[in-house]
Homo-oligomer: 253 residues x 2
DNA sequence: GCCGCGCCTTGATTCAGGTCAAGCGGAATG
DNA sequence: CATTCCGCTTGACCTGAATCAAGGCGCGGC
């Protein structure tokens, strides 16, 4: 169970390089929060956390349901989706390893959380975590930092939704996924963690438009497709140019 | 210099009712952060803060520029805008009284901040504020809470940008503004803090479409317009229905 | 190996919102 | 009081993405 290379840009964040040494188990412990914890604090965390795995497609938290835990993704990928009464849906976040979910001060989930692939979470009960945070200020400081990163990322996504064309939207998403989950090397390649339907929900498009734009990008030589999920790209900067971003997107090296 | 009624829903947040007693001066001191501060802490804050006012239209922070302060809005309204290299722009946030700007751990602004109306900020130098936060955990806790509220609000806005029609978008914005800045009473009425152009930038539309939808809503009897900025509404729930939200939107009473 | 189901692609058509263009009107200026 | 300018409205037209409608195809089950 290895984690992503921390030097890769973050799909749902502003691309901050996470601090912390080699990580072997739980991102909450080893990277996301406790990079500077004392050993005794780590031991305490150890006793509080638990793991749970969901299969692709399973609902993890229903919209409006009681949210009894906070936690972060250990492996796999989950989607955060909000929906309107008439059924229109918008994905508002994509949770990849080390991403955090749940807030310490509110019990009700504002979004539906669904496993996109098989996904494992490292979880804490809400009240316990809150208490721990109060007693450990640098954990709270790290939480604040992470929240602000998520806020920046959410705001960046508003440009995608509000101003980009369908082609740019699809190129943006593919480039982000390639940067984040690809096996290193050139050409980059990856297995998409999302169905076409999920991509459409994320991008504010329909499934047909996503499919057409993927085909168009393939015909234009910007990407190669391998079955339903496989994708590769030999020139990421060309793809980013189609995305309408600067050469390097929003992320420093 | 009175603040908005805290019972009014927050335009750019998830509608949490802020705690704290009557507020007469700076929201950082009296409401947003220090509702639970000791007197001695308040005195210390008092010595650190300063005020600054910008005229409508002035740029407060340029995109990518050095951000030397953190602060919150005392009165007036400012916009947070991100732009693409080809000039397309998307507003990613609207700062109203008590809203916060600037992060404690990063010096560079990701967005341009512009005064929409004459606007006054209460400011702290970044390094000082960070130090103060470290020494005062409940201030940090409040900052975390505020950041998570902003994150929820940003994610809510993604539905507006990604899935709503032009009519729904305009109705959503008008209803939010009316809820937040209207003088109490029925019919609600307010002076819009935004030009049509700024509304378009916020909603991911063009100025012409905003104008047409405003006219349509007026002709349909959902709102009344009074000059360029004046607006009133005798049935907010009807307007919210046009916005595609549930009757009460995202905010509890 | 064959079948069947879901996911995906592709085509034809429609329509919401963008684009281009003209003109109004209120507020500041002289 | 006339002028000008800028923010706004309105109209005509166009286009990009949605919608509606067929299939194709990879994958799991038998």
């Amino acid at each position: 169970m290895t984690h992503i290379d921390p030097s890769l840009a973050d799909l749902t964040r502003a691309g901050r390089t996470l601090a912390g040494p080699g990580c072997s188990q739980c991102p909450i412990r080893h990277r996301a929060i406790c990079a500077t914890c004392e050993d005794s604090e780590l031991d305490r965390l150890e006793g509080m956390k638990s793991y749970h795995t969901w299969r692709a497609g399973e609902t993890i938290v229903m919209e409006g349901a009681d949210l009894a835990f906070v936690g972060s993704v250990v492996s796999g990928c989950a989607t955060l989706t909000r929906s309107m009464e008439d059924g229109r849906m918008q994905m508002v976040g994509l949770l990849m390893p080390s991403d955090f979910i749940g807030r310490n001060d509110r019990a009700v989930a504002a979004y539906e959380v669904v496993a996109a692939t098989d996904v494992t979470f490292c979880m804490f009960r809400r009240a316990e975590f809150r208490q721990m945070m109060r007693e450990t200020p640098h954990v709270m400081e790290r939480m604040l930092e992470m929240s602000l990163d998520e806020l920046d990322a959410a705001r960046d996504w508003m440009i995608v939704l509000g101003r980009k064309t369908a082609r740019e939207k699809v190129a943006t998403l593919l480039a982000n996924i390639l940067r984040r989950v690809s096996t290193q090397g050139s050409p980059l390649h990856a297995q998409l963690p999302l169905t076409r339907d999920a991509m459409a929900t994320y991008l504010g498009l329909t499934i047909e438009t996503v499919s057409r734009q993927m085909t168009a990008l393939r015909k234009d030589g910007l990407i190669d497709l391998d079955g339903r999920r496989g994708i590769s790209c030999r020139d990421l900067s060309a793809l980013l140019a189609e995305a309408g971003d600067d050469e390097d997107g929003q992320s420093p090296a």
